[in-house]
Symmetry: C2
Subunit: 244 residues, 2 copies
Amino acid sequence: MTKATRPTASASALDFPRPLASVDIVAFAAREERLWVLLVRRGRSPGEPFPGRWALPGGFVDVVRDADLEACARRKLQEKTGVTGAYLEPLGSWGSARRDPRGWSATHVYFALLSPPIPGIAEGGNAEEVAWQAVEGAAVRTHLAFDHDEIVTAALQRLRGKTEYTSLPAHLLPSEFTLSELQHVYEIVLARPLEKSAFRTRVLAAKLVVPLAKYREAANRPAQLYRLRERGVVYFPRTFQLPR
Amino acid sequence: MTKATRPTASASALDFPRPLASVDIVAFAAREERLWVLLVRRGRSPGEPFPGRWALPGGFVDVVRDADLEACARRKLQEKTGVTGAYLEPLGSWGSARRDPRGWSATHVYFALLSPPIPGIAEGGNAEEVAWQAVEGAAVRTHLAFDHDEIVTAALQRLRGKTEYTSLPAHLLPSEFTLSELQHVYEIVLARPLEKSAFRTRVLAAKLVVPLAKYREAANRPAQLYRLRERGVVYFPRTFQLPR
DNA sequence: ACAATAGTGTCTGTGAGACAGTATCCC
DNA sequence: GGGATACTGTCTCACAGACACTATTGT
C-alpha cells in the first residue's frame, strides 16, 4: 500500500470511504472417498445479505483482534470448527463494488486443508449451521452466497493444479500415513486413478516423506508408515533443467 | 466476504473500523539483457510514511472510481506509465496491523508484464519520480518502503516459477516475435542459458505460438515471426498423465 | 492354503539435454 | 566466400506408465 491519491495530502488524507475488508476460507477435507468443503449458513437478521444461504466461513477483519490476515483466517476457522493447526495458504482476493450489497467489499481468501479427525457435520449447540458439502466436479452442488461459487472453483483448481506437482494433498492426512493412503488422497483430489509403482517412485525420489520405525498393521502385509519430510509443500522436479 | 462478527446484527452492523485497502503493482519489463521493476518515489508531504523512499506503484482503492480490484490496478498503472494493455495477474495480498504506520492496512498486489515500447525512465513533467530498477538476484538493490521488498521477492519467485512451465514471459515481448527472441526473454527472466533445440521443440509441441506469414529480416537468415496462440497463459505438459 | 494388500522389477515410450550439422540471408 | 543467425537431426539419458511379479501379514 502506498500514498493517498488525493492531491492535497493533508493531515487527514485518510478521511475517505474505505471498502469492507473480510477474510474467507475454503476448507477442504477428504473422507469417504470424497473431497468436502466447509460451509456455513448465513444468518437471517435484518440487513444480512443472502439470508439463509450457504456460504464460505469467514467474516470481517477485526482491526483490534487480528494481527494480520492469516491470523484472521485462523481465528475464523477456529470459531467454526475448533481446528487450530490446519495447513493454510493464501488463495487470492476478490474485490468489487458489487459483490456485496452492503458496499464496496474485498475479501482475502485462504485455502485450508484439514486432517483427520475431521470435526463432525452436526456441530455443537450454537445456532450457526456448519456443514461439509461434497465436491462434485469443479464445484459444490449448492449455489452459494456472494461470489463464493467462483471462489470455490478457483480453490479447487489451485488444489488440483498443485496436486499434480507438489506434496500438498498430504496435509489432508494425519501426520503419519502409508504410501497407499497418500496415493489414495491424491486420487480423491484428482478424481482419477494413479499408477502405484510410478506414484511411489516419484514420491520417494522427490524425498517428500521419511520412513518411521513403525508399520500399519492389518489383516495383510504391514505397511511402512511415513511422515512428511518438510513442514510445508515440496515440489516434484520440473522442466528446463540446468545444462551441465 | 460474509457476516459481521458482531452478536447483534443491527441495521448499523457495519459501523466498526475498517482497514485501509490498497492495490500495489509489481510491473516487470525486459530490456538490455535485464529484468526491471517499476518503482515510484514516495512524496514528502507531512503525514506521509516513508517520505522520499522508493516503493511499488499503487495506492488506495477508490470506491467511487474503481469497479473492482483489477480496474484499480489498471488505473494506477496507467497513471504511472500511461500503459493500458499490460498483462495483469493477481499475485496475493499482504495485510497486517503494522505494515503501515497509518493503521491496519491490506494491499492487493498485482503482477504486470509490460511489452516494448517500454515507457522511459524520465517520465513527463509531473512532480512524481518514476523509475525502472534492475532486478539483481531475488530482489532489487534499493531497500523499499513498507514490506515492498518482500512483495517484490514474491513476485519474482512467481514469475520465475511460472516461467519454468508456462508461456508467461512471452508477455514481455511485443505481439510478434521470433523464437530466438522468445528464448532470450526466458533466459533473462531465469538468468540462465537454455538449450536452443530443446526450447524450440517444447514451445512448438505445446502449441504456444502460431507462425505468421512474416519474417524478421536482418544481416543473416530471416527468422520466422510468431504470435501467441492464446491470449492468456499456456501451460507446458506436466506430470501424472492419465493412464491409457 | 488363501485372501489381501505391500512393495519391486522390467519393459517401453516420451521427451528433454547435448551438440553437431545444415540452411539461408547480407555483405 | 565469409559471417551470422535460423533451424534440424540424432544420440543419449532420465523418468513416467504399464503390468506382472514377489513379499508378508492374518485367518
